[in-house]
């Protein structure tokens, strides 16, 4: 283990530069997130992720933003285990009917001020599952959404752009 740690110390960093915030996401946010939010939250953003019936593709890429290449914690963004600690609810999946209650309860458990991100095409509009009896067809049907991040799944860069936009708006 010492050998590996030693190597890591002298190796080049794996982390990439921060991506520029996406203009479309910034515009959407500008209308909904006021400057008070930044004053309240400072640089730190705590995110609670809820999978509302995704295929698991979105979760894989959310995991990736935490790896050493994208490393979101350097922007003050961290994923938290409890909604009680969260500023942002990041939701994936087409909002299956079986997840609606748990989703609403998770949102209700979050302290205000709080924001909701619909992450991925499924959360945005239901994607290929929109016509099913088992889904609400997107997060807008259940919660007021502050930011939509499209993509199937959104790449780590797209996720990072969205989160940075939420903080700089």
């Amino acid at each position: 283990m010492r050998k590996l740690l030693f190597k890591s110390i002298f190796a080049n960093t794996a982390t990439t530069d921060a991506p520029a915030p996406s203009p479309a996401a910034l515009e959407e946010l500008g209308k909904q997130v006021n400057k008070k939010a930044k004053a309240l939250l400072g640089r730190s953003l705590a995110i609670r992720v809820v999978d509302a019936g995704s295929c698991n593709g979105c979760e894989l890429e959310i995991h990736a933003v935490d790896n050493a290449v994208y490393d979101v914690s350097r922007f003050g963004i961290h994923f938290v285990a409890s909604p009680r600690h969260a500023d942002v609810l990041l939701v994936t999946g087409p909002t299956t009917r079986n997840m609606v209650t748990a989703l609403k309860r998770t949102y209700a458990a979050m302290p205000a001020p709080k924001w909701v991100i619909a992450s991925g095409d499924c959360a945005c509009d239901g994607c290929v599952f929109a016509d099913s009896y088992a889904v609400e067809g997107g997060l807008d049907a259940v919660l007021d959404v502050d930011l939509h991040i499209p993509g199937c799944p959104p790449t780590p860069t797209a996720l990072l752009q969205g989160m940075l936009a939420l903080m700089t708006a």
């Binding site: 590996l4 999978d51 593709g57 979760e59 997840m99 998770t106």
Partner: protein, 505 residues
Amino acid sequence: MSKNLQEILRGTRPLASQHGANRHRVDTERWQLITGRLGRGLDMLALWADPAEVHMAVRASDGGALVIVSHKIKDGVFPSVAAHHPAAGLAERIIRDLNGVHGDATPDGRLWLDHGNWPLSAPLSPTPQAAQKVPPYTFLGAEGEGIHQIPVGPVHAGIIEPGHFRFFCVGETVVRLEARLGYTHKGIEKLLEGKTPLQAAPIAARISGDSTVAYALAFARACESATGTEIPERAHWLRALLAELERLANHCGDVGAICNDAAFALMHAHFGLLREDILHAANLSFGHRLMMDVIVPGGVSHDLDTAGEKVLRTLFDGLRARLPDLIDLYDNTPSLQNRTRNTGTLSAELAAKFGTGGYVGRAAGREFDARKATPYPPYDQLDFDVPCLEAGDVNARIWIRIQEIEQSLHLCDAILGRISKGDILVPLENTDTKPREGVALIEGFRGDIFMWLRLGKDGRITRCHSRDPSQYHWPLLEAVIENNIVADFPICNKSFNCAYSASDL
């Protein structure tokens, strides 16, 4: 045993509509003879229903072809399989919720996918009923002095799929675990109905995002088997390359994540980098990090160019150079092995009884890999080993993954060395003549994925069923956690890494 299956089926004829395997209509006596032997020389690969018939895919444990048997459903009832074969338990509950028919002596009548939130019930039946009033879920439970319950989920602490776990414990020791799933049910089988294979392919590719290549492959092969379509040689080799890349990415992610659940973050960080390199290379060479929608019915939609090939060769060299240090680190860290050895042990007997595949089966002595057992191109022309261990614990499931990473790298080299230029996509044949059924069994990173579909006269899907390896892994996870401590559940769970979406459909 293979002979026994033939003996039971003597006097029945395979149906002309089924391609890719033989399908026999059987009477109750034959059906019961077969169900009586499941887990004792016969493996059940899938159980699903049509409005008129219930179907079961079986195969002799010691080898041979996959066979489908069908029994008629009378007044909403069929002879229960789960009554004789516990591995059929979830399948029978799913049939009840989706088709509205049930096994005559089914041991578990509780609803599974239907939580009472849909606007209708029995969505796959020809006459879906109004939504039913669903009673509160009763857990099987455990009784005794000092037993307490720990409810977990459906929203978990980590970033994972939703499901509920109910632990019954004495102190720290788990007496019983019961998983309650269905939260990610998206009505996929109903959505596939009425679609052409090309319209349905993007849905099939999203049955499970981590196995999108595997599901796209299973669906494409089922369509091609139904329509008798021969795809170009190059497409076969590209498909195998995609499948091995997906296996590499997931196994790397899993090995790191399992160690992370033992609070050994260094492995997680390094394997996270390996996984990221694989996804990055996949994006450069195939245009999508998870390689979604690259495999389509009729071939592949994205060719690999010279630049992409170079990216992949560089990737494989990089992985090979970095893996040995990490494997040594795992092997030489007793505090980590202390957490993984003798934890969550699956007995070889139970693995064989459930006919369980993937790293769960192969870590517990069941040497089944669809790439070898029911070979499909190009694996029938490739030389590779299927690692198999006996211990059945978390440690064994890690080692199976490590050895499969090595085998996949070897396979990727062989594929790149032998792939030749040529077409990559052809249209499906015979899509508008008569009803046709196709079947596929392929090896995803979790294990063998089964896919069956029927195309109607107009070439549209009238029924499509898929079975994920997790359908057998979930009950086994419940079994292996018994007598382990609650704190070891995450590491056991991660070593199984069951799919929620592909199980809930």
